[in-house]
């Protein structure tokens, strides 16, 4: 009836998770929300709640302990959603590449749509990235994308990782029916 797709673009609500960054980028997110850059112009609200967010703003190279939380938050976000990797270390691991407690970049775990480079990414870059994410959000009607690494590894690794429950399984069951 209506074409709602274009309105997605007008109100992106963001969820921010720090998966082990140096918090330089996190400060810049705050700065981007501050009067000089004012992300709210685009309708951005920092909800802090995955269930009401459209854009998942991740910083940091994914440390071991934050892997599960990252995926958990990702699965709790309703579609359509866009994942932004903010900062060099989030895109590829950056200076933390190959350190022992770090997984180089979040796209090993969740599918990333926008990569924002920079160390630390300045508010202008964040705005550029979000503007780009808005275009993607407008087009997006994807099915639930499966997180990459954790689910593939789930059967092989023991202990903490294979405790994947509820969120996705229930969703899968409903899709089958």
């Amino acid at each position: 009836m209506f074409n709602f797709k274009k309105y997605r673009k007008k109100s992106p609500w963001i969820l921010h998770y720090n998966a082990g960054s140096c918090n330089g980028c996190d400060i810049e997110i705050l700065a981007a929300l501050s009067p000089k850059y004012d992300l709210e112009r685009f309708g951005v609200i920092n909800t802090g709640n995955p269930k009401q967010s459209d854009i998942f703003l991740v910083t940091g190279p994914v440390t071991f302990r934050s892997r599960e939380r990252l995926v958990e938050l990702y699965t709790q976000m309703p579609e359509p959603k866009v994942v932004i990797a903010l900062g060099s270390c989030t895109c590829t691991g950056g200076v933390f590449r190959d350190m022992y407690n770090v997984e180089d970049g979040i796209d090993r775990y969740i599918p990333v749509d926008v990569y924002i480079p920079g160390c630390a990414a300045s508010p202008e870059l964040i705005i550029d990235g979000i503007v780009k994410a808005l275009d993607i959000l407008e087009q997006k009607t994807k099915k639930m994308e499966k997180p990459l690494k954790l689910f593939q590894d789930a059967s092989t690794k023991d202990g903490i990782i294979n405790k994947r429950d509820c969120a996705l399984k229930v969703g899968e069951k409903d899709e089958e029916n």
């Binding site: 309105y7 709210e40 309708g43 459209d54 309703p78 359509p80």
Partner: protein, 274 residues
């Protein structure tokens, strides 16, 4: 006819108030702020999102909150019994509280708890407001209140007491502990998403309409005074919102009960002697 139109458009009116409020807030914080239609963009977007629910009870109760609130607003517009409307409004809050308690989510629980506790603060004042209108007009009917001349000058203290509870209902600082975003991530609404959150979002807009309609009651039959009161309260609430921190729920209860109840009591005692 115009009443029916008003009832149907109530969420949209609320949307404009909320949109204006976001702009005013942004300007008071020295920034540009979102466009006026931002609440509607949000609404459209939420319609389009994938729906996640925890359990059906939770969702239904959230929707009931919205429906009841719309009925409340409709009753206000039609001019029903004020006391009854206050109780019906209570019913809508109770739906929301039940929704908050129906999931095993801690922030939702805390939000519902705080909403319940805040009820101690605002319910007595609302009821006393209704009683004061009754004493002035001899009837609880809103239509009767609207026909009489302005009550503002007979119950100025009650108006002040009522101003105290406006920020509580609109979830504005300093009395926004119920929804405290930095503490409990919106409280009750934390588990709603997609189209179901939209109902809560629209309920918030309806709450705006309800509260400002109550504000306009003080103006009686004078339309100009009603408009002035609306603008004044709108401005005052936003100014307060942008110059105070959020205070704790226990402080909220103490402040509102002590100041508000005293003001209301004094005013009613005064009324009964006049």
């Amino acid at each position: 006819m115009i009443e029916i139109l008003l009832i149907i458009l109530a969420p949209i009116i609320g949307g404009f108030i909320y949109g204006a409020e976001r702009i005013v807030r942004a300007r008071m914080q020295n920034r540009l702020g979102p466009p006026l239609l931002q609440p509607f963009y949000d609404m459209y977007k939420l319609m389009d999102k994938q729906a996640f629910i925890i359990n059906s009870y939770h969702t239904i109760l959230g929707i009931m909150h919205f429906v009841t609130l719309w009925v409340v607003v409709a009753f206000v517009i039609v001019g029903q019994n004020l006391l009854y409307i206050i109780f019906l409004h209570l019913l809508s809050s109770i739906f929301l509280i039940l929704a908050g308690f129906s999931v095993k989510s801690i922030y939702s629980h805390i939000g519902a708890n705080r909403e319940l506790i805040a009820m101690i603060a605002y319910e007595p004042i609302l009821i006393m407001l209704a009683v004061a209108f009754f004493m002035l007009n001899g009837s609880f009917e809103i239509s009767a209140i609207r026909e009489n001349s302005s009550a503002l000058f007979s119950i100025p203290l009650l108006f002040l007491a009522f101003l105290l509870i406006v920020p509580i209902k609109l979830k504005k600082s300093p009395f926004d502990a119920i929804q405290a975003h930095q503490e409990i991530i919106g409280g009750v609404e934390v588990e709603f998403s997609g189209i179901f959150f939209e109902f809560l979002y629209m309920a918030k807009l309806l709450e705006y309409v309800f509260i400002y309609a109550l504000v306009m009651l003080f103006a009686g039959d004078s339309f100009i005074l009603a408009l002035t009161l609306f603008l004044a309260v709108f401005f005052l609430v936003n100014l307060l919102d942008n110059s105070t921190a959020r205070i704790r729920i226990d402080h909220l209860i103490k402040i509102v009960l002590v100041i508000g109840l005293t003001l209301a009591t004094l005013n009613i005692i005064g009324l009964s002697y006049v």
